[in-house]
Symmetry: C2
Subunit: 227 residues, 2 copies
């Protein structure tokens, strides 16, 4: 019984990988660097994009593909800052998918003006489990972990912390008000993903956002064919 | 294609409902009230249980079934407070299930001393999407929403807020440090689940915890056959 279940899951992931490759080819043909941005609900993904994208400068044309179960709150926020944004809702039919997959992203691509972009950030559904299991054709995976979520998160959700190549440790402006032990968090982080780059940031105060912006700019500057 | 997908999902939920009913019968036979506690990662479920359960008094014998993708951090915390706790990990095989379902709970029941309990709290995997879709045989569903997650959460994850009968609005000790608009949160909450009972609490300072404890005590006091 368990065997069968694993088999089905493998098939799903095989199918996803095939579509992710097709997405990736489309991104590379258009010369667009794609970042998959993941976190738990309310960790600050949208605010970090509001802070970083409008000030990237005219040399990096950035857009966002916004994944949500329902609604367009985040897309509206980004659009009001003149960032090109396409909304993708996962809530059709059933109670809603808890992650984006390659096919959902593919279905949205006709709406995304790839030819006018250098950088596309895909803001995933807020969830620390399933988004890490589904590649969408991205070049980079970044996750946001807010200090308000507690220092045990890397140990409890290891796949997510292992899957990303940059961790934004957000809401550090609240550190003084919390019992959060940063050293303990970093210990857990290095246990599951030794040495993964990490940036201490506060989307609220702007602390550390310049380095997040620099990171995005650096990724967009590398020709995607060269990866 | 979409039709087929919905069919499969319905079958999964049908199977889940059948097992949930069997769990429920076991709970009622043993006279145990069962609460399914859900939230995003790091909202404070465990701390709210640490605060509430040890002081329920000897008239309510409480235990916890602790759901996690991996590890036993929360179970260890509760066990150190002399709360009987059984760990249930969803991470076997694949990258980990993002929710508990009725069958996982059923598989753990032989370890749970139902005959020695009046109240069993099942702490679900931290996730605002899928746990709301899977009944586990519980009598009550409670969710925790931390103010650090932002005021838009009911609008973005409506199924979760609709599925529960009590919302614990946690981390209110941080309200002064945040830009969180409580009235806006309550507006969104009442839009998706009008009038749902809600308690403002701080697991950290203890504010409002007495009312959460009273709620648990009241549920445990109702004979489960009478529901």
């Amino acid at each position: 019984m368990h065997r069968v279940k694993v088999r089905v899951v493998e098939d799903v992931l095989d199918a996803n990988a095939t579509i992710a490759r097709a997405n990736r080819e489309d991104f590379e043909r258009a010369g667009v660097t794609v970042v998959n941005l993941m976190s738990a609900p309310g960790a600050g993904k949208t605010t970090l994009l509001e802070r970083a994208l409008p000030e990237l400068g005219s040399d990096v044309r950035a857009g966002v593909l916004e994944g949500d179960v329902q609604g367009s709150f985040d897309a509206d926020r980004l659009a009001s800052m003149h960032v090109p944004v396409v909304q993708l809702n996962t809530g059709n039919g059933f109670g809603g998918e808890c992650h984006l997959d390659a096919n959902m992203v593919r279905s949205a691509l006709p709406q995304v003006p790839l030819g006018e972009l250098d950088l596309l950030v895909v803001e995933n559904v807020g969830n620390l489990v399933c988004p890490a299991e589904f590649r969408i054709g991205e070049h980079h995976r970044v996750m946001v972990s807010a200090v308000t979520e507690g220092e045990d998160k890397p140990a409890k959700y290891p796949l997510m912390f292992r899957a990303c190549e940059l961790v934004l440790i957000n809401k550090v402006d609240l550190l003084e008000q919390l019992d959060f032990d940063l050293q303990k968090f970093l210990y857990h982080l290095d246990a599951v993903h030794p040495g993964v780059p990490r940036l201490l940031v506060s989307a609220r105060t702007g602390e550390g956002v310049e380095r997040w912006r620099d990171w995005l700019r650096a990724q967009a500057a590398v020709p995607v064919e060269a990866r």
